[in-house]
């Protein structure tokens, strides 16, 4: 599989097919970051924590892809992590992986509509509905993607691999606070992840702790800086 060099993002679309980059004013379009992973691993909580941390410094939009309509979008609305007009829910016909990988048209439209309604945006977070270990985002939809797993899902997940674990630009191992309770060995997870991913980064998070999102936020800020610098 071809993987982009982490520092550069070649333009992939004719303007007719996706948002123009750069924009007419010369600025780059918003960086699009996908969050995928199995059901219950903490994707929505991760997106919510990112929004809370970054919303005062960045103009953010969120697109959710639910299995059931609007469940995740409503979580974000209920917790008021962003104003409602900055959150859009894509309906996926029971197949979130199709909407983020095989037929990305509804997601591209949702992003363009957010940009039109509340833009210019700096950052768009695209959250997949919980899916299996093979679900990854199309590179036509996002510029970078994180795959979120959790220790309670079993410390064997990194060893099992799959496209999400082995190729995502960032692997997030969430709920580390639960590790002692579920008998998960974080060192084994780190070692197996390293074997699957080589030099691609892995972060361990516990959103139950204050500033638990910091490692993911640091990664997002780094990607955004590289994106902006590559204008």
């Amino acid at each position: 599989m071809h993987l982009d060099h982490p520092e550069t993002y070649p333009q992939r679309h004719a303007p007719a097919l996706s948002a123009p980059d750069p924009r007419p004013d010369g600025r780059r379009r918003a960086l699009r970051v996908g969050f995928g992973g199995p059901v219950g691993s903490g994707k929505t909580a991760t997106v919510a924590a990112l929004c809370r941390l970054l919303r005062d410094e960045l103009s953010i939009g969120v697109v959710t892809n639910d299995i059931y309509t609007r469940e995740d979008a409503e979580f974000l609305l209920r917790h008021a992590v962003l104003p409602p007009e900055r959150i859009s829910a894509v309906e996926t016909g029971a197949c979130p992986h199709t909407a983020i990988r095989d037929d990305i048209s509804a997601n591209l439209e949702a992003i363009e509509d957010l940009e039109e309604a509340v833009g210019p945006l700096d950052l768009v977070l695209v959250e997949s509905g919980g899916d299996n270990l093979t679900a990854t985002f199309s590179r036509g939809l996002v510029d970078a993607q994180a795959f979120v797993i959790d220790v309670a899902g079993g410390d064997k997940i990194p060893r099992k691999g799959g496209p999400g674990v082995s190729t995502a630009d960032l692997l997030v191992v969430n709920k580390t606070d639960l590790a002692p309770l579920v008998g998960a060995d974080l060192e084994v997870m780190a070692r197996d992840a390293k074997a699957q991913r080589g030099d691609l980064p892995v972060v361990f998070t516990s959103l139950a702790q204050a500033d638990g999102i910091a490692p993911v936020a640091t990664w997002v800020r780094t990607r955004l800086a590289a994106w902006t610098a590559a204008a």
Binding site: A14, T69, E91, G93, S105, A106, E109
Partner: protein, 229 residues
């Protein structure tokens, strides 16, 4: 308009269920029909699809054929609105039209598609876009009509497999049994589309399916659903 060399294979690309134009997220009314207890097996799916084919499918095929002929897509878009009483279904048709437009412009770029996209940035009705896309692909009105008629039943059949756990072989057999009727609806739609030049868009089929309209309005109001329509 004549079909150009290689255009037959282009039809396979356009009508492929994996063509990335948003169809996978729509059930064509099947989800609402299942919830209402009106559809629970392959026999019911066949009845549902037959009804949809001869109403929505015929209307879509007529619009697609006329658009592929080169008639004014904006007039056809208005004709589509007039034939779609349900606001939910109008919104769905435009949403799918916008998605079809993106895929078609990537696959078969043309001035006709660019013009329609500029005139209807929020999306024209899907069958109209399908017809313009077919022409851009070098296909003629018969292929455009056939693709629209086929789509009117293939989407619901796929959705029934997901919603009911229906045997996928049975669902495919339903589509195979309906194929001669898809051809008949295509022929009917073509005859009507040929009259548009002389009589205007009123000549196009205007069959309606009131129960699908009602189900669509109910469905659009559900807080939780698997399909967008």
């Amino acid at each position: 308009m004549t079909t150009t060399a290689g255009a037959s294979a282009a039809l396979l690309v356009l009508a492929d269920g994996r063509f990335p134009a948003g169809g996978h997220a729509h059930s064509g009314g099947v989800e609402a029909a299942v919830r209402a207890g009106r559809l629970d097996d392959a026999a019911a799916l066949e009845r549902f699809c037959r009804g949809r084919l001869h109403t929505c499918g015929l209307v879509a095929a007529g619009l697609a054929a006329a658009a592929a002929t080169g008639h004014d897509p904006l007039a056809l878009d208005e004709a589509a609105d007039a034939r779609t009483p349900s606001p939910a279904l109008r919104a769905t048709a435009r949403k799918l039209g916008r998605q079809m437009m993106r895929a078609a412009r990537a696959a078969w770029p043309s001035a006709a598609l660019d013009d329609l996209a500029a005139a209807r940035p929020r999306g024209a009705h899907q069958p109209v876009v399908l017809g313009v896309a077919a022409a851009s692909a070098g296909l003629g009105p018969p292929d455009a009509a056939r693709a629209a008629a086929h789509e009117s039943v293939s989407g619901p059949a796929t959705a029934a497999v997901r919603l009911l756990g229906l045997d996928p072989f049975e669902a495919t057999a339903v589509l195979a049994r309906l194929a001669p009727e898809v051809d008949a609806v295509t022929a009917h739609a073509l005859r009507r589309a040929e009259r548009v030049a002389a009589e205007g868009t009123d000549a196009l089929p205007a069959a309606s399916a009131p129960l699908l309209d009602i189900l669509a309005e109910h469905h659009a109001a559900w807080p939780v659903r698997l399909f967008a329509s």
